[in-house]
């Protein structure tokens, strides 16, 4: 293609097409554009112009190009550009209908945007509004806020809010522009009544739009004109349940429409308003309620604080002022008795005064028992009846609320208003609230009052009741009754009459305020009394004094009013309680009730009193019975029983004192009593003759005598009657009581009563019971006494038996017997007569009188005791009085004893020994058991006597045996068959060192520590047994003998033993002596024999000197031997007492020197000898013996001081004695042995280093010789320090004799 073509086809044509497109588009837009021309903004205009411009431009271009086809640059590029440029148009056209969108779309967008912006702004405004609204409490402010918002948001000049309440619309607020429409507040619309836009809105529940107010039938013309509104919308403001307000938004000026947005907005506002209003309203309502409540509470508080009337006044005042009424009044009571409690009137209003009671409304309210609201008196004429009356009072509206408490109408609270109109709910509630409170207050007050009154009554009743029921004695109860009832009912007088059912009369028992003489008067029930009794309830008689039939007595005539209250118990009339007053009108129904209640109390009290009386009586009787029963239960002595019977009778019958009389012989004696006064007791003790009239009936014929007035009862002796008067007992009941044994007469129980007593059947019944009980008791008592006596006898007997059995002296036995006998049988004296040949001798007696008879004799043949002996049986005399023969037979009887009982005393082998007899000063009926007891005693005595005699014999024998045994030198031990020692004689004690007490009863082994023998059946003859005695062994020579019983069994053993230890000792000593002597003899013999043999030795030649020495030793040892033998002989002689002593004055000194020098020459162990001789001591002694003594002593001294030392021999004269002492410094002698050393064969301690040798006789001989010479020898020694032997001889006249010579005395 050529460039031009290209240019044409590719550029020009598309351009033209483009232009066409745009122009078409323009074309479609044009109408809309024209339409919307005004409302378009610049942008839209510009946009709208694009299309035509582009079209035109494209057209122009195309055209040009056609004319001059020159390519525009690159044709294809240009084409592309053109295509691109065509897109918008294509797009636009393809969208078709939405062309307006282009135009108006932007505008609408703009508008929408605007609107959105506006909406947003509105929303924001709304939110702000809502916020503010929420914070706004007051209705006013809410309204203002809302309205201004409405004005602003919806764009109206007029906004108004009217509250809808109970079918009435009330203008709340209206804003015209910025100003409030004042009169709007006073707008009141009865929605039911008149048609209104508001009403329409309310009833329809939807917004009502009125385009042209002027032509609307709804809107009030006046209102509309006043406001100058043209169009408006009425929106109901509802909370969801009800419409509470109407929001009016109206425009002044030209009519307008409200579109949905507006409506929507308004609805929103309305909703918010509803909430806000509701809130404020509730707040307001709450506040109001609170205020009301507070008011009510305040009222009620002040009501309670104030007294009644002031409170009421307060109420009406407050209510009236609170409600803004003209009048408020309170009507109390109901029906005829209604009164005006309080009335308040607003200033300038006249009080209703007397008319108040005729007000119909309260009557209506009272009748209907609910609040009555009369908004218009005139209109409610048919309800009220007489409405004109109210109108006269200037009342147009009435509100009346009944005051009801617990279903009871107290009164009516009435509020009057001068103008008509519905009563606001709040007002009604307030009034009702107040009415309630008032009701409560009134009710409470009344309750309290009533309670108080009732309490008072109850308290009075209680006090009265207490006073009455605290007493049990009938008379006191009745008196208390009348006193209390007077007090209780504040009466002037009261009386109490008790019905005597038997006779059907009323007897006056107690009075108060009426002369006491009325007491005791009797009357039949009549008049008011009868009426009351019949009715069973108190009856009030007014004008009593005058109108009562039959006419009352003078005492009662002066009473105006009398109430008679019957006292009943279980429907049964007991009596009448009457209360009287001198003043008329004194008693009311409450008093009657009170009296009725009191009468119940009275009946209770009476009942109690009666019961008590009855019970007391019963108790008394029971006590009596019990006493009697307890007497039965306990066996006691007869006197105690009779006392108990008296006591029982007294108690049971309620007497003052009682006495029991028992027959004794022909009289009755006082046997028991209870509270008996002394004079009476005295009289009774003197003895009452049974022949006495009344008592004879009792005791003889056993009948009960009841005498209510003894002093007038001629059945009784004058004496009795006199006593009765003196002692003041009026009545007497005499009951017979059987004595235990069958007697002709019975006893009698007399019960005395200090007051006159009518004896009832009850009493007689008790008496009868008593009789039976007393008899039983006496029987029981009798049995008891019997038993006691028997037991006592038995005990005594046992005791006596015991005593007798243990008594071993026959004389004592008899003494005991005669002492016990009287006690045993309860008599005064006893005597034992012993059979001596053919005479009975009174041997022992007991009892002062009987003593005189001691020793008297009587033949066996005499009566009484003699009879006893001969018959070997008992003799009993009950009463010896008058019996001469008996008196003669037994002198004792003559001494004043009346009764006698004698029993035999048996002796050995059944022989009669004597008679035991007892005497009684009073006549005595000897009871069987007593006699038996005495016989038993006699038996015991016999046995005891036999025993005693036997014992005596035995004792004698025993003593003999004991003496024998005691004196035997041998020990005798007897053991029984169990081996226990039964005899241990003195010698046994001495020998064994075991005392008899320790040995008897034990076996010899136990006693001695060693068996006495093998205890075989056939003992060997003598045995040697060693028993320990005090640490030593004592040797006994024992013989044993077996005792056999008749059966041949071993019955015991007898041991006889002798202490041979001494013998043994002696034997031992002898043996020792022999051996020691032989030893001693052997010593010198050893030397003699030895040296002799030595000399005979052939094998050794001894020198002359040696030989001489040997021979010398032989000689000296022979001499020693001789000495020993001599000593033996001397000792033997001493033993035999065969010593020949020739005494002469001996020069002791020279003898001493001589002997000592002899020792010195033969000196051995370096002993030194010292001689101390005083001034020529001369003793009367046997020289040779003395020499022996000295030699012995010095030898000992030497022997016993082996260590050497000095032997001092001293002799001196000391007065009448010459003392010679030999002292050594040797071994000494132990203290223990110093006593023994002078005994035979006692040698110095061998084996302890003491010297061997020595016969043990030395000192024995020394002592023997010295003693034979009439002297004494003793030792003083200290062990280890030496000994000193001293002998003392009688001094003699110094005889000059040459030393060495001794003179033989004549």
């Amino acid at each position: 293609m050529s460039a031009e073509n290209q240019a044409v086809f590719l550029n020009a044509v598309p351009l033209l097409v483009l232009a066409v497109l745009y122009l078409v588009a323009t074309g479609t837009l044009a109408p809309s554009f024209w339409r919307e021309r005004r409302r378009m903004g610049e942008v839209e205009s510009a946009l709208a112009l694009i299309f035509p411009c582009c079209g035109l431009a494209a057209a122009a271009g195309g055209v040009l190009l056609l004319r001059d086809p020159k390519p525009l640059g690159n044709t294809w590029v240009a084409l592309a550009a053109i295509v691109v440029a065509a897109l918008p148009a294509v797009q636009f056209l393809s969208r078709g209908g939405d062309r307006t969108l282009l135009l108006t779309g932007s505008r609408r967008a703009r508008e929408a945007e605007q609107q959105t912006t506006a909406l947003t702004r509105r929303r924001e405004a709304m939110n702000a509004f809502t916020d503010t609204l929420v914070r706004t409490d007051e209705t006013e402010r809410v309204a203002r806020l809302v309205l201004s918002e409405v004005q602003g948001l919806v764009g109206v000049e007029f906004a108004a809010l009217a509250l809808v309440e109970e079918g009435e619309a009330r203008g709340l607020m209206a804003l015209l522009g910025a100003d409030e429409v004042e009169w709007w507040r006073n707008l009141r619309l009865e929605l039911d009544r008149e048609a209104s836009a508001i009403g329409a809105a309310v009833s329809e529940g939807v917004p009502v739009t009125v385009h042209d107010v002027a032509s609307s039938p709804y809107v009030k013309r006046e209102v509309a004109e006043a406001l100058g509104v043209r169009s408006g919308v009425w929106l109901p403001v509802s909370t969801g349940e009800a419409v509470i307000a109407v929001l009016v938004a109206a425009s002044t000026g030209a009519p307008r429409t409200f579109d949905n947005d507006d409506l929507e907005l308004l609805r929103e506002i309305a909703a918010e308003t509803a909430l806000a209003l509701e809130r404020t309203r509730s707040a307001a309502a709450l506040a109001e309620a609170l205020a009301r409540e507070r008011l009510v509470a305040e009222l009620s508080r002040r009501l309670r604080a104030l007294d009644h009337d002031a409170a009421l006044q307060l109420v009406v005042e407050e209510v009236g002022t609170a409600l803004g009424a003209s009048r408020c009044l309170l009507r109390l009571g109901e029906g005829e008795t209604a009164t005006t409690g309080a009335e308040w009137t607003a200033p300038g209003v006249e009080p209703a005064g007397a008319h108040a009671l005729r007000l119909p409304t309260p009557i209506l309210a009272a009748r209907e028992r609910k609040t009555v609201e009369i908004p218009d008196v005139a209109a409610a004429a048919e309800r009220l009846g007489d409405g004109g009356f109210l109108t006269q009072l200037g009342v147009r509206a009435v509100l009346a609320t009944p005051i009801i408490v617990a279903g009871e109408l107290f009164g009516v609270l009435v509020v009057h208003r001068p103008e008509t109109g519905n009563w606001r709910g709040t007002a009604v509630r307030l009034v009702e609230g107040v009415a309630r409170e008032l009701g409560l207050v009134l009710g409470t007050a009344r309750l309290l009052q009533e309670n108080e009154r009732r309490l008072e009554q109850q308290a009075a009743l209680l006090a009265a009741g207490e006073a009455v029921t605290s007493e049990l004695r009938l008379e006191t109860v009745l008196q208390r009754l009348v006193d209390e009832v007077v007090r209780l009912l504040d009466a002037d007088a009261a009386d109490c009459w008790i019905l005597d059912e038997g006779r059907g009369v009323l007897r006056c028992r107690a009075v108060s305020g009426v002369p006491a003489s009325e007491v005791g008067r009797e009357t039949v029930p009549e008049g008011t009394i009868a009426e009351a009794l019949a009715l069973g309830r108190p009856v009030l008689k007014r004008d009593f004094g005058r109108s009562e039939r039959p006419p009352p007595s003078a005492s009662y005539a002066g009473f105006e009013e009398v109430v008679e209250g019957p006292i009943t118990s279980g429907g049964r009339p007991l009596g009448i309680l009457g209360v009287c007053s001198r003043t008329a009108g004194r008693f009311g129904p409450t008093d009657l009730d009170l009296l009725h209640a009191f009468a119940h109390l009275a009946s209770l009290a009476l009942h109690n009193a009666e019961l008590f009386e009855e019970r007391s009586r019963q108790a008394r009787i029971q006590r009596g019975f019990y006493r009697v029963a307890s007497v039965l239960g306990r066996p006691i002595s007869r006197p105690a029983t009779l006392d108990a019977v008296a006591e029982a009778a007294n108690e049971a019958l309620g007497g003052s004192f009682a006495a029991v009389l028992m027959p004794l012989g022909t009289t009755l004696e006082l046997a028991g009593s209870e509270a008996l006064p002394e004079p009476l007791a005295e009289a009774l003790r003197r003895g009452v003759p049974t022949g006495d009239g009344a008592l004879r009936l009792v005791t003889g014929e056993r009948s009960v005598i009841a005498s209510p007035a003894v002093d007038r009862d001629d059945r009784f002796d004058p004496e009795w009657r006199e006593l009765a008067r003196e002692l003041g007992y009026r009545s007497l009941l005499a009951i017979p009581v059987e004595a235990a044994r069958e007697e002709r007469f019975a006893g009698a129980v007399l019960v005395f009563f200090s007051e006159t007593r009518l004896f009832t059947d009850d009493d007689l019944e008790v008496a009868g019971h008593l009789v039976g009980a007393a008899r039983a008791a006496l029987e029981r008592s009798g049995a008891y006494e019997e038993e006691r006596r028997a037991r006592s006898l038995a005990q005594q007997l046992a005791r006596t038996g015991g005593l007798l059995a243990s008594e071993l002296d026959p004389a004592a036995v008899l003494d005991e017997v005669v002492r016990q006998a009287p006690r045993l049988v309860g008599v005064d004296a006893a005597a034992v007569r012993v059979l001596d040949g053919d005479e009975l001798v009174v041997t022992v007696t007991e009892g002062a009188a009987a003593e005189r008879m001691l020793g008297s004799r009587s033949p066996v043949s005499t009566r009484l005791s003699g009879d006893v002996v001969q018959s070997r049986g008992r003799i009993a005399v009950e009463d010896a009085e008058g019996d001469e023969r008996l008196l003669a037979a037994d002198p004792l009887l003559g001494l004043g004893f009346r009764a006698y009982l004698g029993v035999p005393l048996a002796g050995a082998q059944g022989a009669m020994r004597g008679v035991l007899s007892v005497y009684s000063t009073r006549p005595k009926r000897w009871r069987a058991e007593e006699v038996e007891a005495l016989e038993a005693l006699a038996g015991n005595a016999s046995a005891a006597l036999a025993n005693a005699e036997l014992y005596q014999r035995v004792a004698l024998e025993k003593e003999r045996s004991v003496a024998i045994l005691a004196n035997i030198a041998d020990g005798i031990v007897a053991v029984d068959r169990e081996g226990r020692v039964v005899l241990w004689n003195a010698a046994a004690e001495q020998i064994t060192g075991v005392p008899a007490e320790a040995a008897v009863g034990r076996t010899p082994t136990e006693a001695l520590g060693r068996a006495l023998g093998p205890e075989s059946d056939t003992p060997a003859g003598n045995r040697l047994v060693a028993v320990p005695r005090g640490g030593e062994e004592v040797w006994l020579s024992l013989t044993e003998a077996v005792m056999r019983d008749p059966a041949g069994a071993v019955a015991g053993r007898i041991y006889a033993f002798r202490d041979i230890s001494a013998d043994r000792q002696v034997e031992q000593m002898k043996t020792d002596f022999v051996s020691s002597v032989s030893q001693e003899l052997r010593r010198p013999l050893t030397s003699i024999y030895g040296f002799a043999e030595t000399l005979l030795r052939r094998d050794v030649l001894f020198g002359e000197e040696e030989r001489r020495t040997f021979l010398r030793y032989i000689a000296s040892e022979s001499e020693r031997l001789t000495r020993i033998v001599d000593a033996l002989l001397n000792a033997a002689r001493l033993d035999a007492g065969d010593l020949q002593i020739s005494l002469a004055p001996i020069d002791v000194g020279s003898l001493v020197s001589e002997v000592v020098s002899g020792f010195e020459t033969a000196a051995a162990n370096g002993h030194r000898f010292a001689v101390e001789v005083g001034s020529a001591p001369v003793a009367r002694a046997d020289g040779e013996k003395l020499r022996q003594v000295l030699v012995n002593l010095i030898e000992n001294a030497v022997k016993f001081s082996p260590a050497g030392g000095t032997v001092t021999v001293a002799a001196r004269r000391d007065g009448e004695t010459v003392e010679v002492s030999v002292a050594d410094e040797g071994l000494g002698i132990p203290q223990a042995e110093q006593a023994r050393i002078f005994r035979k064969f006692t040698r110095g301690d061998v084996g302890r280093g003491g010297p061997a040798g020595g016969s043990g006789l030395g000192l024995f001989i020394v002592e023997g010789l010295v003693t034979a010479m009439g002297g004494r020898v003793w030792v003083a020694s200290t062990e280890g320090a030496g000994s000193s032997f001293t002998l003392a001889l009688p001094a003699a006249e110094a005889v000059s004799s040459p030393a060495g010579e001794w003179v033989e005395a004549e």
């Binding site: 051996s1075 032989s1078 030893q1079 001693e1080 052997r1082 010593r1083 013999l1085 050893t1086 030397s1087 003699i1088 024999y1089 030895g1090 040296f1091 043999e1093 030595t1094 030795r1097 094998d1099 050794v1100 001894f1102 040696e1106 020495t1109 040997f1110 030793y1113 000296s1116 040892e1117 051995a1164 162990n1165 022997k1199 016993f1200 082996p1202 260590a1203 071994l1227 061998v1246 084996g1247 280093g1249 003491g1250 010297p1251 061997a1252 040798g1253």
Partner: protein, 144 residues
């Protein structure tokens, strides 16, 4: 030469023993009491001791016990001289060894023979303590 110690409180007996034993060619020592005897025994160690039983001060038994107790003298044989007759009977059965006795009066000639025999017997070694025991027993049975 056999040395014999004679302990006796009686001089004649001592002389008797001395003479007769010296005649047999023995050396004789004498002591007049137990203490001295013991001393001499310890000092001079005799071959045999003639011991009188009944001595004042320390008696024969005590001396013997002391001799036995002292090891120096324990082995020396002892011959008791006693006047007690029963001794012979009682002690006969005992073989104490190294102890013998002679009752008084005795034949002095026989004494020497006895000394010799005892010495022979006691030559054997091994004299044991039984000797001591037997001694005590013997003493006890004699009843000190």
């Amino acid at each position: 030469m056999t040395r014999v110690l004679i302990i006796d409180d009686e001089a004649p007996i001592r002389l008797l023993c001395r003479v007769n034993l010296e005649a047999e060619g023995m050396e004789v020592l004498e002591a007049g009491d137990g203490y001295v005897g013991l001393e001499q025994a310890r000092q001079d160690r005799p071959d045999l001791v003639l011991l009188d039983v009944m001595m004042p001060g320390l008696d024969g038994w005590a001396v013997a016990a002391s001799l036995l107790a002292d090891p120096r003298t324990a082995t020396i044989p002892i011959i008791f001289l006693t006047a007690r007759a029963e001794f012979r009977d009682r002690a006969r059965g005992l073989d104490i060894g190294g102890v013998d006795y002679v009752t008084k009066p005795f034949n002095p000639l026989e004494l020497a023979a006895l000394v010799r025999s005892l010495l022979n017997r006691s030559d054997s070694r091994g004299r044991d303590d039984r000797r001591g025991e037997k001694l005590s027993a013997l003493r006890a049975s004699l009843g000190a």
